[in-house]
């Protein structure tokens, strides 16, 4: 009788284990797999990718790119989203992670001249795809840093926006060209 009770206890325990979803992982493995999960302690940043300036310059756009899948009708390629900030993360790291997660096309190249990664194209939109003054620029908290995105180390709460400009930044609020 006692034996039976013991066996039933074991069965209940096993069933509980099975239904709770067993995962046998080391701490390191757990950390690796869950590194990008947002917890109350995580530091985070926000990222948006937009190309709404193209909507106002449609005629300049490379005809091969005049489709919704390249230029969404609301001009937003990636809606504002929160991402975990890892230690030492740069603007490029966050962009790269977001792009991978959302399976958006991107082409980058490392430039020795700028000692930084240079973003050539996002979602098939490249430099000069929409006129001779077009290309990708980024802001952090509304400011246009004048250097490569893999050199900009982020802080908790930073707000990153990648915008496609059709006018060397002026249409997205950058005034480098005006400085004299």
């Amino acid at each position: 009788m006692k034996k039976d009770l013991f066996a039933i206890c074991i069965v209940i325990f096993i069933l509980a284990l099975v239904f709770s979803g067993v995962k046998i992982q080391s701490v390191d493995e757990y950390y690796l797999v869950h590194i990008d999960d947002i917890t109350p302690e995580s530091q985070t940043v926000f990222l948006t990718i937009r190309c709404d300036t193209i909507l106002d310059n449609w005629q300049q756009l490379d005809p091969a790119l005049r489709y919704e899948k390249y230029v969404p009708s609301d001009g937003v390629i990636l809606k504002r989203h929160e991402y975990v900030l890892r230690d030492g993360d740069t603007v490029y790291d966050i962009l790269d992670r977001a792009i991978r997660h959302n399976k958006i096309q991107m082409e980058c190249a490392y430039s020795v001249n700028y000692a930084s990664v240079y973003v050539k194209g996002i979602n098939h939109l490249y430099e000069f795809s929409c006129g001779e003054l077009s290309g990708w620029m980024y802001t952090v908290n509304g400011i246009f840093p004048n250097y490569g995105c893999s050199k900009y180390v982020l802080r908790d709460g930073d707000e990153i926006v990648w915008s496609y400009t059709c006018d060397l930044g002026r249409d997205v609020g950058c005034d480098w060209g005006m400085q004299k």
Partner: protein, 617 residues
């Protein structure tokens, strides 16, 4: 008395000698300063790419930059300095890269014609032929990148990226005085007109806006330089959209005035709000291209400061050049105290221009074989004769000098640097200009493919290649492969050919495999949350292929590629382990349940039989 004269004479003689040698030594001083600045940049860059002082600048590390903006300008400068370095290696990697990029839909680039221009110039400078690029020699960078630059609908896209496309298109077209076929999309004049059409109100040029930019203005002048002596009138629109008719010369002179205006008191310039070294480098190249000696032209000497002073201001103690002294709050990484690769490469090109001008060589971007002594003498004589003219010279005299000028071959006349004065006198005297017909180089004309030898050291390199290759040997294999293709026949050529062909295929396979794995990771392993047990085979197969690569080739992956792969692998492993555990535990649980049930039943039976025996009793 006589002795006094002798003393006076001797005194003058000594003074004259002194003056003469002072002048000569000043010239020598400048030349040696130019040369030592050139050496300084080359040494700095060698150090930057981890090469020894007597090693190659274009070493294997540098070759990873072949075909990019950061890479191509150094070999262009080296080639124009006559420094061979590792030009064969550079050309080999470039060729391979062009082949691979031409296999894609957009070839070198969808929008940027300047990719073709820069790579064509680097090919020329490395001793290659931009009209016959790639392993089969079937790629023509000149046609594809200049006069036939079109999109899939047949529209011209030379200027898709703006004025740079036209400027560098023209520079590339004139690098070997290539002929433009009659049925080409752009004629030479089309390209010239596109540059002239974009002149701003003050006569300069800019990427955008109404204010002239020194860099773009200087580059426009570099492109127009070969047309300075042309009497052809170009009809185009000025900044206020009014039709004007001008010669290239007039537009160039306007541009020079703009640059003179923009020059700062240190001799340098400011572009996009920053006083910097690249702008003055471009202006020096522009002046040298026009045959103007920057040391003597008053328009470009501010106080005591010349353009050369303006450039040398940025020379750093390690030999490299700085971009700017201005510390930019927005840009804390552009350290004003650190040599900058782009600033150094442009300074190197400017110094190369100066050196070539001093040595009587061709313009920086005129890659044709150097002028014969005969041509040089004729040009010098013509210049002397022009110098001898003035407004009182009789028409017959002017005509005679003009006839002499016309004996210079049309394609060399742009090197007669004071022709503008003769033209002015001609016009004033009402004399007629003759028709000029420049003979351009059609096809491959003018290109001499250098014969290379497969040396003993090349053979040793071949023998010392490891049995299993990795991407680390890519540059070396490509260089040896290029050499064995072009070299003269020798005894064991076939043996080395087969060996290298195999090696080349092997490194191509590695590159293709790496590319494949990278794409698989991007396409199949994201988003991470959606990775489930059914992806296990996919993940494992990608992982196995990755692990099969050499350590060097794995190192070439992006950090996030590796992370994505490892994460996915852990995830499927964990999920798999969990499933196995669940199954095992379920089996165990089932076993126990069966055992308990059987046990209970057995006991019940026993109890029943016991009761029955009891009742029987």
């Amino acid at each position: 008395m006589k002795r006094l004269w002798i003393v006076i004479f001797m005194f003058f003689g000594i003074t004259i000698c002194c003056c003469g040698s002072l002048l000569a030594s000043a010239q020598q001083d400048i030349s040696s300063r130019i040369s030592s600045a050139i050496d300084g940049i080359i040494e700095w860059k060698k150090d930057d790419v981890g090469s020894e002082k007597d090693g190659f600048l274009l070493n294997d590390e540098f070759l990873t930059q072949a075909g990019t903006t950061a890479g191509d300008w150094y070999p262009i400068a080296l080639g124009r300095l006559g420094i061979t370095d590792n030009a064969t290696g550079y050309l080999a990697v470039l060729n391979d890269l062009i082949d691979k990029r031409y296999a894609t839909k957009d070839k070198l680039d969808r929008a940027k014609a300047t990719e073709w221009h820069r790579i064509a110039l680097a090919t020329l400078a490395s001793g290659g032929n931009p009209r016959r690029v790639g392993e089969k020699g079937s790629i023509d960078l000149i046609a594809d990148g200049t006069y036939d630059r079109r999109d899939e609908n047949g529209d011209g896209i030379l200027g898709k990226q703006g004025i740079n496309g036209f400027i560098w298109g023209l520079i590339t077209l004139d690098s070997m005085y290539y002929e433009v076929p009659k049925d080409a999309f752009y004629s030479r004049d089309d390209i010239i007109l596109n540059i002239l059409n974009r002149r701003l109100a003050d006569g300069g040029w800019a990427l955008t806006g109404e204010e002239s930019d020194p860099d773009i203005t200087a580059m426009a002048l570099q492109a127009l330089a070969p047309y300075y002596n042309s009497e052809k009138n170009y009809e185009y629109l000025d900044a206020s959209s009014e039709t004007i008719i001008k010669k290239a010369r007039q537009a160039i002179d306007d541009g020079l005035s703009v640059l003179s205006e923009l020059q700062l008191e240190d001799g340098d310039f400011s572009s996009w709000g920053t006083v910097n070294s690249e702008s003055v480098s471009q202006v020096i190249i522009a002046l040298c291209s026009l045959g103007i000696d920057p040391f003597n032209d008053e328009r470009f000497i501010k106080g005591e400061k010349t353009l050369f002073d303006g450039l040398m201001k940025y020379k750093n103690s390690d030999g490299g050049f700085l971009h700017s002294f201005v510390f930019d709050n927005d840009n804390p990484t552009a350290d004003p105290a650190k040599s900058n690769s782009m600033a150094s490469e442009q300074a190197l090109l400017a110094l190369t221009s100066l050196k070539r001008l001093k040595e009587g060589k061709r313009r920086l971007y005129d890659f044709r074989p150097e002028q014969s002594e005969e041509t040089k003498t004729l040009i010098k004589r013509t210049q002397e004769e022009i110098k001898g003219l003035d407004e009182f010279s009789p028409n017959s005299e002017i005509q005679r000098v003009y006839d002499l000028y016309n004996t210079v071959s049309a394609s060399e006349r742009s090197y007669v640097t004071n022709y503008a004065y003769l033209a002015e006198l001609m016009e004033f005297a009402g004399l007629e200009f003759a028709e000029e017909e420049i003979e351009y180089n059609s096809g491959d004309a003018g290109i001499i493919t250098p014969i290379t030898y497969f040396t003993e050291s090349d053979k040793r390199e071949c023998e010392s290649l490891p049995l299993t290759l990795t991407g680390e040997y890519r540059a070396q294999v490509l260089r040896l492969w290029q050499k064995i293709i072009c070299c003269e026949d020798f005894q064991d050529k076939n043996y080395y050919y087969i060996k290298l062909e195999k090696a080349k295929n092997e490194i191509d396979d590695i590159a293709a495999e790496t590319e494949y794995i990278k794409n698989e990771i991007k396409n199949k392993l994201y988003p991470f949350d959606s990775i489930s047990l059914k992806d296990r085979n996919t993940v494992n197969s990608i992982y196995e292929r990755f692990i099969a690569l050499s350590e060097y080739d794995r190192g070439a992956f992006e950090k996030s590629d590796v992370e994505g792969l490892i994460k996915a692998k852990k995830q499927v492993d964990t999920l798999f382990a969990a499933t196995v555990t669940v199954i095992v535990l379920s089996v165990v649980a089932l076993g126990i349940i069966i055992f308990v049930v059987l046990h209970v039943r057995k006991r019940k039976k026993e109890k029943l039989s016991r009761q029955m025996t009891e009742s029987e009793e």
